[in-house]
């Protein structure tokens, strides 16, 4: 039987291994699926007529006549509700003051929520803050606001524990002229807001309005692109030259091993320490820019990805067959000539793989740019401005929007959208790298 036990044990071992691999794949799915499922809603969602109006007025997107006509139709549906509000206001004035005091606060709440839902009336004073100029842009947010209009919150205490209850607001106004408003709004909300499936691809290319409550993420995306490319401009030449030296010129010995262990230590430095160095050295000491700037951020990120680039380039150079080098040398080419004309072209795909991988790394890093390059709100920069000015960047703004923003819940879709774009950029870069590597391996096998 011992043999049987051993066999079973072997099966159990295999089962454990496969279970852990499955678990790993499951983790990837668990992390990515909710993020992607909700991130897509930043681009594809039910937009209300307010959304179309905002984009007409702020970005001049869309067919003006059609949107205006639609808006007028919506206004007609809303007018009925506004009339109800006005009537109640009149009634309120006519009431004896004891009753008026009873209704005043509740009515103010209703008016405020209704204004948030529908936006200001035509001809009403328009506030400079954009979020007060328009009603709800998204149908899902409109539903939330509708719920807020229909019910009010009440905390009850029972056995020392507090419970939140939602009670119908309608009951507060029974017997008044406002009672009809709630049912009317609930049943006519679609006519008032005209939801339509919207494919908002301009999410990627629009600037944000009013701290990301409206609009897209172009400044952030552009900032990430600047930082990524900038860091490559610093790290790639430096990294490749170092790799050439290590792979082709250096002789084994103390110096080489010291350089190698230094580089591997550099790859282990925590990213936040790069941020410290960027702030204290590049900005406070060298003063590459008066304050945070893309330049300082790119330098810092360049330091961060340098070890990766050195290591991958060195491996790529070492993977070039010796015959190439010997043939070039045999033809009388100098060492440097051999490196530039023969070895570098042959190892270019490998080096490119390393560069693409580190681009993904640089695009996703947050800690090094917190103190060196990132701001929460900003406009898209031109390349010249990037030398001296800070920029918003995807990674930083994800952090900023989901922790420090004043209306965290209202802009969930923007946060998810940003995360999806960032993950999309990084994963597509690493997929490119994986495909490139697979092609190189195929070539090598031949």
């Amino acid at each position: 039987m011992r043999e049987h036990t051993r066999k079973l044990f072997d099966y159990a071992f295999t089962g454990l291994g496969i279970a852990s691999i499955t678990f790993m794949v499951a983790i990837l799915v668990i992390v990515l699926v909710p993020i992607f499922a909700r991130g897509v809603q930043a681009v594809i969602f039910k937009g209300t007529v307010e959304h179309r109006l905002l984009h007409l007025e702020k970005f001049s997107h869309g067919d003006e006549d059609a949107i205006r006509a639609e808006y007028d139709e919506a206004l007609k549906a809303r007018q009925f509700a506004w009339d109800m509000l006005d009537n109640f206001k009149k009634d309120l004035k006519a009431m004896p003051s004891s009753e008026r005091g009873h209704y005043r606060k509740e009515f103010a709440d209703v008016e405020a929520i209704f204004a948030e839902l529908m936006g200001p009336r035509p001809g009403e004073h328009r506030f400079p803050i954009v979020r007060m100029q328009y009603g709800q842009n998204r149908w899902d947010r409109a539903q939330v606001k509708l719920h807020e209009l229909m019910y009010y919150e009440q905390w009850t205490y029972e056995n020392g524990e507090s419970h939140l209850q939602y009670l119908p607001r309608k009951d507060l106004f029974t017997g008044t002229s406002l009672e009809g408003l709630f049912d009317y709004t609930e049943s006519h909300l679609e006519e008032m807001l005209k939801p339509k499936i919207t494919f908002y691809w301009r999410f990627l290319t629009d600037s944000s309005i009013d701290a990301h409550i409206f609009g897209g993420i172009w400044p952030e995306l552009l900032g990430t692109i600047y930082l990524t490319i900038g860091s490559m401009l610093f790290a790639v030449p430096f990294g490749i030259l170092t790799a050439i030296y290590l792979a082709e010129y250096a002789k084994e010995g103390m110096i080489l091993s010291t350089i190698r262990s230094c580089i591997s230590t550099l790859s282990g430095v925590p990213s936040i320490v790069f941020g410290l160095i960027g702030l204290a050295f590049f900005i406070n000491y060298l003063k590459v820019s008066p304050n945070k700037s893309v330049l300082a951020g790119a330098l810092t990120l360049g330091l961060l990805v340098l070890p990766t680039i050195i290591r991958t380039s060195e491996e790529a150079i070492k993977a070039v067959p010796h015959a190439y080098k010997e043939a070039a040398m045999g033809l009388g080419a100098g060492r440097w000539f051999t490196v530039v004309k023969v070895i570098l072209p042959a190892s270019l795909p490998g080096i490119m793989t390393g560069i693409v991988l580190s681009m993904g790394r640089a695009a996703g890093e947050t800690a090094p740019i917190i103190f060196t390059a990132a701001v929460s709100v900003g406009q898209a920069l031109s390349p010249i401005q990037a030398l001296s000015e800070p920029t918003p960047a995807l990674s930083w703004n994800i952090y900023n929007l989901c922790t420090e923003h004043e209306a965290v819940e209202e802009i969930r879709h923007v946060q998810y959208g940003m995360v999806v774009v960032l993950i999309g950029v990084v994963i597509s870069l690493s997929l490119i790298a994986i495909l490139m590597r697979a092609r190189i391996q195929k070539k090598m096998k031949r």
Binding site: M24, L32, I244, I272, W336, A363
Partner: protein
């Protein structure tokens, strides 16, 4: 200054290259031989070119020394004015108060706690996955699993942090004990099942008759499984009762950090297992060992130092990670009571640097500014030592496998 030097170093070799090309074209016009002067020039150019390359390489290596020294230099003023005792022994962290207090013990404890938690999850899972990836599943499947590992590694830490804060934390807070219970059962029940099978089979080993033996084995297996299930249920009854008051706590961070450190552990230990080589495997199989025995008794011991290095690298990643911890750890600078209570919020070194620097930068030169460098220096020191150790271990494994 550094910038200019960098530009020069990059441009110089290009100039040498064009010179060299110039000389080659002129020399080929004159015939195959070069004049003595040209040979001298070429030699000089080659020497300086090599020198320049060496400078570039040395510069990229020296950056790390520079970073260490610079951080150290900036942390000195803090230790000069406040001494060591408060920083390392007090748990009172009030840097913006007057008088300010800079006790970082709780912050060190927080870093330690989440790192241990992350490694506790990532190391077993990662090592088992690496074993499976390198020896159990076939080549075609591996081609599909490896990109999964790479994508897990590529997902930016801020995205993991977002997941921890926006998805996992509310989930933990509302489902509390049931969440812990589900994880526990997900891990424990399959393990219990496999263990019961092996246990039942080995317990019935003494029975001689074949038909009887099978019956006994099944009976033993069922009994073992029932007992283990009872044990699991007992523990899960305790787990369900737990209420998590805040979803942003050390457990949440540890789990997500583990996911982030997992790819490092998997890929490095898989390399270590691969580097053990075919001969040992074939030898073991030839002696009649099963795959499990080969792996557990031959391959894993032979690759153990590489696996250890992988775990150390995982520790390094978890320790140096900023965004996940900053977003999802709750950032409370106190030691949880009892110390291993993972359901309380903690604060780590990296998160403190990230969170406090925004304000401390306005008072450059004060203790508040330099204390963050002191923390950065401690982090650097940890990762430096870990890196050195893992490198030593890896090189020792290489020597061992070469048969030295």
């Amino acid at each position: 200054m550094l910038l200019i030097a960098g530009v020069c170093k990059r441009v110089c070799p290009l100039i040498f290259y064009s010179f060299e090309q110039l000389i080659m074209t002129t020399s080929s016009a004159n015939g195959l031989t070069l004049s003595r002067r040209k040979v001298l020039i070429r030699q000089a150019l080659a020497k300086t070119g090599t020198g320049a390359l060496f400078l570039v390489a040395a510069a990229s290596a020296l950056i790390v020394l520079f970073i260490i020294l610079y951080i150290f230099k900036n942390s000195l003023p803090f230790f000069e004015s406040r001494g060591f005792v408060e920083f390392f022994t007090s748990t009172r962290w009030y840097p913006s108060q007057d008088p300010a207090e800079f006790g970082a013990l709780a912050i060190f404890a927080g870093s330690l706690l989440v790192t241990i938690g992350a490694v506790f999850v990532a190391a077993p899972l990662g090592i088992v996955s690496a074993v499976c990836l390198s020896d159990i599943i076939n080549f075609n499947l591996r081609q599909w699993i490896k990109p999964v590992v790479e994508i897990l590694a590529a997902i930016p830490s801020v995205a993991y942090g977002f997941f921890a804060l926006v998805v996992l934390a509310p989930f933990m807070q509302t489902h509390g004990g049931h969440f812990l219970d589900a994880i526990w059962k997900l891990i424990a029940i399959p393990c219990a099942f496999l263990a019961a099978m092996v246990l039942g089979s080995s317990l019935s080993g003494k029975v001689k008759e074949k038909t009887k033996r099978r019956l006994y084995a099944t009976a033993y297996t069922i009994i073992c499984f029932a007992v283990l299930l009872g044990l699991i249920q007992y523990i899960s009854g305790y787990l369900v009762g737990i209420r998590i008051s805040s979803g942003t706590n050390a457990l949440n961070v540890s789990l997500v950090l583990a996911v982030m450190a997992l790819p490092t552990v998997v890929s490095v230990s898989e390399d270590a297992l691969q580097s053990v080589g075919r001969e040992l495997r074939e030898g073991s199989f030839a002696l009649g060992a099963t795959r499990a025995e080969t792996m557990l008794k031959v391959i894993i011991p032979a690759g153990s130092s590489g696996i250890l290095a992988a775990v150390l690298l995982g520790i390094m990643r978890a320790l140096g990670e900023t965004m996940i911890v900053w977003m999802a750890s709750g950032n409370a600078a106190k030691i949880p009571s009892p110390i291993f209570n993972y359901l309380e919020p903690v604060r780590t070194l990296t998160a403190t640097i990230a969170g406090d620097m925004g304000e401390a930068d306005h008072v450059t030169g004060s203790d508040r500014y330099h204390v963050l460098f002191a923390m950065g220096f401690s982090l650097l020191l940890f990762s430096f030592v870990l890196n050195l150790v893992s490198e030593k271990i890896a090189s020792r494994q290489r020597d061992k496998l070469r048969g030295k």
